[in-house]
Each structure stands twice: as structure tokens, then as C-alpha cells.
């Protein structure tokens, strides 16, 4: 439940440097996937009891432990609100994304 290390992927300049088909060394995430998010989770760390229910239920695996607190990878959070709905302490609220 620590955040996986992400390595930077440099887009190849020549077709021969592309991976052969869609397979490559693990640990590269060249794409982010959160562009359509309209609301984002905001964590109240005072209210949070670190039960990690949100970590278990996040459908995109974006929640991770960060120095004894939960944190969310906003490059991949879709803003679905499952974490806020499931939080037994109502420590997560969904707030509107400002464009």
C-alpha cells in the first residue's frame, strides 16, 4: 500500500526503439488518466482513523500510505467518490474541481 515507484518514460524517437507490441518493463506509467474528473476527494486527516477502507475500495488503486497518513494519486483518481461514500468517519468529502 505504499505508492508504487513510477519511472519516467521517454517517448522513442525511432520506431525500432518502440517496445515490440504492448509490453514493457513494469513501473512506467506514461499516461495519466484523470482528465474528466469533476469532483475530487478532500481528506480530513483529523477525522481519519487510518482504517484504510478507502485504500481497499478505491477502484483505481490511487490511495496509498504516506508517512502515516493516506494520500491520493491525483494523476489517476477519477473522482468517483467511492472513498467518500464508504468512509466510516466521513473524513473524505468530494469538492468541485475548479477549471
Amino acid at each position: 500500500m505504499n505508492q508504487p515507484k513510477k519511472q519516467e518514460f521517454k517517448t522513442p524517437k525511432h520506431i525500432d526503439d518502440y517496445p515490440t507490441g504492448p509490453q514493457y518493463t513494469a513501473g512506467f506509467l506514461p499516461e495519466t488518466n484523470a482528465g474528466w474528473r469533476t469532483v475530487r476527494p478532500l481528506v480530513d486527516h483529523e477525522a481519519c482513523v487510518f482504517c484504510l477502507r478507502c485504500y481497499m475500495l478505491c477502484p483505481d488503486g490511487t490511495i496509498f500510505k504516506d508517512n502515516g497518513k493516506i494520500n491520493i494519486d491525483m494523476d489517476y483518481c477519477k473522482g468517483c467518490g467511492v472513498c467518500a461514500f464508504e468512509c466510516p468517519k466521513d473524513a473524505i468529502t468530494m469538492i468541485k474541481e475548479e477549471l
Binding site: 520506431i15 515490440t20 507490441g21 504492448p22 509490453q23 514493457y24 518493463t25 513494469a26 513501473g27 499516461e31
Partner: protein
Amino acid sequence: MKNNKIFISGDEAVAVGVKLSRPHVIAAYPITPQTITVERLSDMVEAKELDAEYMHVESEHSAISATMGASAVGARTFTASSSQGLLYMTEGLHYCSGGRYPVVMMNANRSVALPWSIYGDQRDSLSLLDSGWIQVYVEDAQEALDMIIQAYKIAEHKDVLTPMMVNLDGFILTHTYELVDIPNQDEVDQFLPAFITPNKMSFEDPKNLGFSSKPDDNTEFKYQQNEAMFNAIPVLQDVDKEFGSKFGRTYHGMVEEYKCEDAEVVLVALGSVCGTVRVVIDNMRKAGKKVGLLKIRYMRPFPEAEVKALGKRVKAMGVIDKDISFGYEGTVYTNVNSALSKIDKHVFKQNFVGGLGGRDITKNEIEAMFNKLFLGISSEQEEKVEFFSLNVETNE
């Protein structure tokens, strides 16, 4: 070279070819007229003559999924299907070629419903030319066995890494018996070394397999896939030559020309009908007619160079299609015509759609096709698609 000939059917020849190629995983769902192949393979696995995992799957969709998954992590895999079953695999076929997983498949060419028919034509595989699989069409059981062995070597080549479909005509080849020379296992092992996947997984070197790509990258992957298919041309030619030097049989790579050296008129065909065309050519040659055959072996990659070269030498070309793309013409004809449009010469052409749903293409019909082509070069004739032969009159 010592011969070891046995009397077996086309389906059995495929099974023997697969056994000699030592696959790790076989997943196939039985369907007429492919059934005997997978029955023989399951017998071999049960009798421990073949050390492979035979996966009992509930459908063709699962068969291609299982073989593709195993292939992705380095197993040598085999599947087989026909007609409706092949079409049920369609989603997986594209997935497999896009993944660059070198699965080898046998397809028993059979008509597609409706009307329901278990008999042969080539509408199943020809409708899948765009699925990214290498497609070869064989003429007899020996070629079927030999091409299974060659197929692994071609598909698994590092510059190719593309799945390959070996097509043999349902019943005409799958269910007829021939004397077939069985290669020696040691020689096959030398010819066909183990498949080393570039995707080998380990805890030290974890991989991400079969990922998605956004519009920024997708075109590059498709370009690369197309390039790999063209790379297959020299590879399959080399593999065929090497096979010839080892086993004494070659199949001339992309196409085989039969009596085309001085031919004025040629027929283009795929698969088993080529045997009948050869007989007609021999007879017509005795009467002084300069006729020949272009046997197309590979439909993908397409033998454009070979078709163009022959087009420059002949006056007329007829294409026998066991296929029709409704609302246009036979698909083999479309492909041949595209190649011929790139040469600076007019060749009289005619498309003969025949052999649908298992109807025989007779020697008399083939002779009539040749005569129509001769008529086309000596007089003004329309280049058209003709169903050969209809048993009824039409409104045309």
C-alpha cells in the same frame, strides 16, 4: 534421407506436425471438419507421447484467449478451429496479433452460416484478412504437416512475432487420406529450436503485458505490426529454403507458379483446387494451349511482387475465389487486382466465384474458365464476376 511414410488424413497430418513442434499448451474446441486434429492431439497428450498442457475450454473464444495468454509469457501454443468457431474467436484474433503473440492455428476452411453448412469454402478465413494473422493456404496433407512446423519458426522469429493461421480446405483436405512423410523428431528439433519470448517475467524483471495506448502511441504500434508482417516475407522464404535443405521439400515461399514460363493465360487459386487446376493444365497443354497456374500460398502478407511480375508476362488472369464479398467481388480477386493496377500494362481479368458451401469445382469448369480468358484476349469482353457454376438460370 530415409522416408517414413504413413497413410493419414489432413487433420491427422496437422496433429502429427503439431506433436513434432513440441507445443507447451494446446487449447482448442472441436468443430467439424477440424475435430479429428484436436482429438488426436488430446490422445497424444493423454498417452504422454506429447508433453503439453491440453486445456479443455468451453468455447473458441476461450481457446484463443488461453493460447494467447500462454504465448504472451513464452509458451509455444496451438489452437485449431473452423468456420463459426473461427469467427467466434475474431475478437481474440485481433488481440493476439496486436499483442505480437506467435500462436499457431490450424483452420479447416468451411462455409459460414446461414444457410447452415459444414462443407468447405474459404469465406471464414478470407473474411479475417484484416485480423493481423499471417495466413497460408495449403494444397495437400503433406504441405499441411510441413507448414505447421514452418509456421512456428516464422511466427516466433524476432522480426515477425505475429500469429499464423494454416488453412486447409474442409473435407477435401481434412478428411481425405494421403501418404504423408513424417519428419524425424531429432531433425525437427534441430530445425525448430525452443521459443524464447522477449516478455519473460520474473520477480527481478517484472513486465507490464498487453497495455493500452492513447492516440499519441497507437499509430506507432499499428505501423510496427504492419512492418512485422512485411518482415515475414523474407523470413518465410528463408524458412522454406532451410526446410527444403533439411527435409527435401520446399513450397516456393509466397506463391508457386505451375507451367507459367511461357503461359499466356493463368488461373490464380488457393488451396486444394490447385491440384485440379494442374490436371486441367496438363491436358490443355497437350492440345497446345499455353495455360498456367499461380498458386497463392500466402494471402497475408500478400504476394504483391509475385502477382505483378506474372502480370507483366501474361495476357489474361482469372481468379478462382471460394469466397464472395457480397456487393462487390471475391476477396482474392480484389487483392490480385490491386497488385495488377500497379503495373503499366493491361491484363484481361475475370473473377470466378466457385466452390461455395462445398460444391465441387470440376475439371470441365476449370477448362471453361481458361477458355473464357482466351476469349477475353481475342475479343472485347466485359471483366466481371461470375458464379461458377449455378444450377439454375438467372435474370442476368
